[in-house]
């Protein structure tokens, strides 16, 4: 199963069109602005990047993660695909 790194709003759209349904996703950098439109069980958000931008992560929806969690996700998935359009 793949892991998708989403770095921007346009990247989010391009990724959603082309990922396998239950692939894992991490929203990071400007990708965190997609928090309110992100759907699916397997979506994570890099909490520090959300805090930087003044985006608060609610208890439901995307799971907040730190870099240690990021590492665990990279262990479990391949390929790791970056989306930054």
């Amino acid at each position: 199963m793949s892991l998708h790194l989403v770095f921007s709003r346009a990247g989010y759209k391009a990724c959603m069109q082309r990922k396998v349904a239950d692939d894992a996703v991490i929203l990071l950098a400007d990708g965190v602005y997609c928090l309110n439109i992100a759907e699916g069980d397997n979506v994570h958000i890099l909490e520090i990047d959300a805090k930087v931008r003044g985006i608060s992560v609610p208890s439901h929806g995307a799971k907040p993660i730190d870099y240690a969690d990021f590492v665990v996700l990279t262990e479990a998935h391949n390929p790791i695909v970056s989306w930054a359009d």
Binding site: S8, R9, A29, D30, Y33, N36, I48, D49, K51, V52, R53, G54, I55, S56
Partner: protein, 119 residues
């Protein structure tokens, strides 16, 4: 003195353009320019409250905005349409006046210079 409009159209932390443009706007005011700032499109993300640029070693844009009145940069505008499309609740301090597209057309047309072409 000249009427200068600084346009912020990009997100605040992917790069440091917004911080650099705000610095230029402050210098414009120090040099007695008639300075306005327009936040439009993804630039309106700069207006979210409670940002923390220091977490990634960057200047915090929301704090820079609070400092603008000290530099007598008080004409702050935002595209109402861009805010609505992104469903944002923006900061109330400093005061930012929401403009329609038609009002932005007038704002741009009355300037001597417009600064801030962004990727």
């Amino acid at each position: 003195m000249k009427k200068m409009l600084f346009v912020i159209s990009n997100t605040p932390y992917a790069n440091t353009h917004n911080a650099e443009l705000l610095e230029a706007a402050m210098v414009g005011a120090v040099f007695d320019g008639i300075v306005s700032i327009l936040f439009r499109d993804d630039g309106v993300y700069s207006l979210l409250p409670d940002q923390h640029g220091e977490l990634i070693g960057q200047k915090t844009i929301s704090k820079m905005l609070s400092a603008l009145p000290t530099y007598e940069v008080e004409r702050l505008f935002a595209c109402a349409d861009s805010i609505t499309k992104r469903a944002l609740t923006i900061t109330s301090s400093p005061e930012v006046v929401a403009l329609s597209l038609a009002e932005q057309t007038r704002l741009i047309a009355e300037q001597d210079v417009v600064i801030g072409a962004q990727l």
